[in-house]
């Protein structure tokens, strides 16, 4: 049971972080379908940090450095989306898709190159982080507390406050709803859209490193983020682009994802004799059902997906 909660919280953390990233980007008016790719690149940044940082650094600065590295990678990668969709006014859906394909492929190539450079016989795309991983965990009597759970909580509160209580949030959302209105009162729409995209890069990178640290102790980069970026988009839509509802949606999806890891720990579930694959499919099936049922009522930021051109006002 404790294990179920532990997994639920860690999976929910990933989904909430990434969904919040999407939330910032979409509130600024840019659809970020590239979250999956951003997660991969963010996790690459974090994994490289763990590979090269000396383990002698104490836990707290070590964790912060790894996270910072993941965020920097995520932000840098998301700037591709910014340049293409804000400055060059490209189709955001296509740019996002390209980011996803490039993310996994690019990370795989990079890791393989690093591995072969260190050992000519090693052409795997795996980075190991058995020992670094321990720094992220605190064992509390059977419950493995993960730093990311706390970070997610903080980031969630910050996101809520920033969106609804600050000038930045008001202006950001205006740019995603009605950029012409924002422009007419002197708000620089491009600037706020860039801010939204870069914030989503930071959150995506953070979610990425959280993801590869959640379960195993090594990561094979060919796996990408196994669709978690898309699951996070579903969480964002189910959460109606609102941080507090995203948190609830994240917990729900996290629960089903966790179930697939630990269902064999519950005798009554084992007795049902459902194949494990079904549990693995659950989060994805649930997201399909949930989106089919809720998408007609969902209210996305009105101007998202439409490149802003201040010559056409």
């Amino acid at each position: 049971m404790l294990l179920l909660i532990q997994y639920m919280l860690i999976f929910a953390s990933i989904l909430i972080l990434v969904a919040l990233g999407g939330c910032f980007s979409e509130h600024s008016g840019v659809i970020n379908l590239g979250l999956e790719g951003i997660m991969v690149i963010g996790s690459l940044g974090g994994a490289l940090a763990m590979k090269y940082l000396p383990l002698t650094i104490p836990a707290v600065p070590y964790v912060l450095l790894v996270i910072l590295c993941a965020i920097v990678f995520g932000v840098a990668y998301s700037s591709l989306l910014g340049v293409a969709s804000i400055n060059f006014k490209a189709d955001q859906t296509i740019v996002g898709t390209a980011l996803n394909m490039l993310g996994t492929a690019g990370a795989t190539v990079a890791v393989k190159a690093i591995n072969t450079a260190a050992n000519p016989n090693d052409v795997s795309s795996i980075i190991q982080y058995i020992n670094p991983k321990k720094k992220f965990l605190i064992n509390m009597g059977g419950f493995e507390f993960n730093w990311f759970m706390l970070i997610t909580l903080i980031v969630l509160v910050v996101a809520y406050v920033v969106l609804y209580k600050t000038r930045f949030g008001l202006r950001l959302m205006a740019c995603g709803e009605h950029p012409q209105a924002a422009d007419s009162v002197g708000i620089n729409v491009y600037k706020y859209r860039w801010a939204g995209v870069l914030i989503s890069g930071a959150y995506g990178g953070l979610g990425g490193i959280c993801y590869i640290l959640a379960g195993v102790s090594e990561w094979r980069f060919e796996y990408g983020a196994a669709g978690f970026g898309f699951l996070a988009l579903a969480v964002m839509i189910f959460g109606q682009w609102k941080p507090h509802r995203i948190a609830l949606a994240g917990l729900l999806f996290g629960f089903f994802r966790a179930l697939s890891n630990v269902y064999f720990g519950f005798p009554f579930l084992v007795k049902l004799n459902i194949p494990g694959n079904i549990y693995n499919m659950m989060p994805y099936i649930i997201s399909l059902i949930v989106l089919a049922l809720t998408s007609s009522r969902s209210r996305a930021p009105k101007a998202e997906g439409i490149p802003y051109d201040n010559g056409q006002r």
């Binding site: 600050t166 205006a174 209105a181």
Partner: protein
């Protein structure tokens, strides 16, 4: 000493590809006056205001504020100079509250956090002072158009703007709201604000403005004091000739029945009841039958049912004696239905298509425009488009290849009229054909409609404008809550009498 103006735009010239939008225009706004800017659609009013608001940079000319030359590079500069604008299409974020919309861009903050309390007090004080009733906590998407406009006005007042621009503010308002707005403008003037009022509605200008500057086809025509002029003089200045406010036409000579509607019932999309209830009417060749009524009494749905945009619950439609109840829109079109729809953007044009493609939307499949291999014959399409553009005086930046979206509303409407009339229909259904148009274009379209009638066509006109109803039609049917409640001869009735039937105060049995 020279007179002090609040704002002066001197010799402004602004060119766009293929068109000179403003040609050496001078506009001087005195302090504390309401100054109207009058012109037809496409005369350059909006461009001039965009220049003043910093959205466009003029190629020539200068802007002076209080006698000093100023540079306005973007809306922020305009704002700093105290210039505010209520745009024709409101610039409001629908899912924000009224208060959020007002403070957006000039939010009071402490360390980046919004301080809405003091903002709310300031908004409430302003709303009290100028009689601008708003609910600061309501979401914009939930409030009336009138309140949205008051929100826009409060946006300017909150910024302590001294020069207020109203771009076609009455186009979207009900008559009561227009009266209120006029009073608000007078209140603002009394508080020393200078107002630029852009309009093509002459009666409103005469009612509220002190002076009026007139533009025509991008050129400055002149400025007159409204108490020393007349509606006729202003309209002549605007269109460059004397305008006939009354439609010249000879008595109708109704022929055979062209359209017969028998017991039509159409469901409503907004409520559970039927929008059109058991309506029967006949339209003869050579007559204009007009359906009058207050907006939302089933006229739109009646036309949807007639044209095939909505299915009928029950009833029959006969066209020259043939049952066309189940006929498709294409079939009806080919048989001789023409339809000038109510919503020109939704049902009239494909906005991202070129003008020429829009002009053949209903005929492109004919051998004249499509060869036997299924390819479009662009040369013939271009020839037809150029012919119609010439004949109906459709003005646009680049002629036949202009995208419909970039054309002014009046010219979009002319394009639709051109397309529908060129089909040489047996029956013309025209819904609000002159909505939002200026007097010159209205006169033109009315003439075309009467010409169709004189050529022996049946015309069914749906209009909300009583002037138009009385002027153009040969027979008036009043629709109230989905039923025909009165039939009138336009020569023997008055606006007041029609009003009683339109409001449901009276009704008669009609055998139309």
């Amino acid at each position: 000493m020279a007179e002090q103006y609040a704002i002066e735009m001197l010799n402004i010239t602004k060119r766009f590809p293929g068109i000179i939008a403003n040609d050496n225009i001078t506009l001087q706004l005195r302090r504390g006056e309401i100054h109207a800017l009058l012109g037809e659609n496409g005369a350059g009013k909006s461009t001039l205001m965009s220049v003043l608001f910093g959205l466009y940079q003029p190629e020539e000319g200068e802007i002076k504020k209080d006698g000093k030359v100023v540079q306005i590079r973007d809306p922020n500069d305009a704002n700093d100079l105290g210039i505010g604008m209520v745009h024709q299409h409101f610039k409001l974020v629908e899912c924000f509250t009224v208060l959020d919309n007002i403070i957006m861009g000039v939010e009071p903050t402490k360390a980046g956090f919004l301080q809405k309390k003091e903002a709310r007090q300031k908004v409430l004080a302003l709303s009290e002072k100028y009689g601008l009733k708003v609910d600061p906590d309501a979401l914009v998407e939930d409030i009336t158009v009138g309140m949205q406009q008051r929100t826009e006005i409060l946006k300017m007042l909150y910024r302590e703007n001294e020069i207020l621009i109203f771009d076609e503010p009455t186009a979207v308002l009900t008559p009561q709201e227009i009266t209120e707005l006029m009073q608000i403008m007078r209140n603002l003037k009394a508080e020393g604000k200078s107002i630029l009022f852009i309009s093509h509605k002459l009666a409103e200008i005469m009612a509220v403005a002190d002076r009026c500057s007139v533009l025509r086809k991008g050129k400055y025509i002149g400025t007159v004091d409204t108490d020393k002029t007349s509606i006729e003089e202003l309209s002549a200045m605007m269109v460059g000739r004397n305008v006939n406010f009354h439609v010249e036409k000879k008595p109708a000579e109704p022929g055979d029945v062209i359209l017969e509607v028998d017991g039509m019932t159409v469901a409503s999309k907004v409520h559970k009841n039927n929008a059109v209830k058991n309506v029967s009417l006949k339209v003869h060749a050579g007559e204009i039958v007009c359906i009058a009524g207050i907006d939302g009494n089933g006229q739109s749905e009646f036309v949807y049912g007639l044209s095939g945009l909505e299915p009928l619950v029950s009833g029959r439609i006969l066209f020259k004696g043939e049952d066309v109840t189940k006929a498709s829109i294409r079939q009806k079109s080919v048989m001789g239905f023409s339809h000038i729809p109510e919503d020109r953007h939704k049902h009239g044009l494909v906005l991202d298509y070129s003008l020429e493609d829009n002009l053949v939307l209903q005929t492109y499949f004919q051998p004249e425009y499509t060869n036997k291999f299924g390819f479009l014959r662009r040369d013939n399409i271009r020839k037809k488009a150029d012919e119609l553009i010439e004949k109906f005086d459709v003005r646009s930046g680049q002629g036949a290849v202009t995208s419909a979206r970039s054309m002014s509303g009046g010219n979009q409407q002319k394009a639709i009229v051109a397309r529908e009339l060129d089909k040489d229909p047996e029956l013309l259904i025209a819904v609000q054909p002159t909505r939002g148009l200026d007097v010159g274009a209205i006169e033109f379209i009315h003439k075309q409609i009467v010409a169709q009638r004189d050529a022996g066509k049946a015309v069914l006109l749906v209009s909300l404008e009583l002037d138009e109803v009385l002027d153009v039609s040969d027979r008036i049917l009043v629709m109230y809550e989905g039923e025909i409640v009165g039939q009138f001869d336009p020569k023997k009735t008055t606006q007041e009498e029609l009003g009683l039937y339109m409001a449901g105060a009276k009704r008669m049995e009609v055998q139309a």
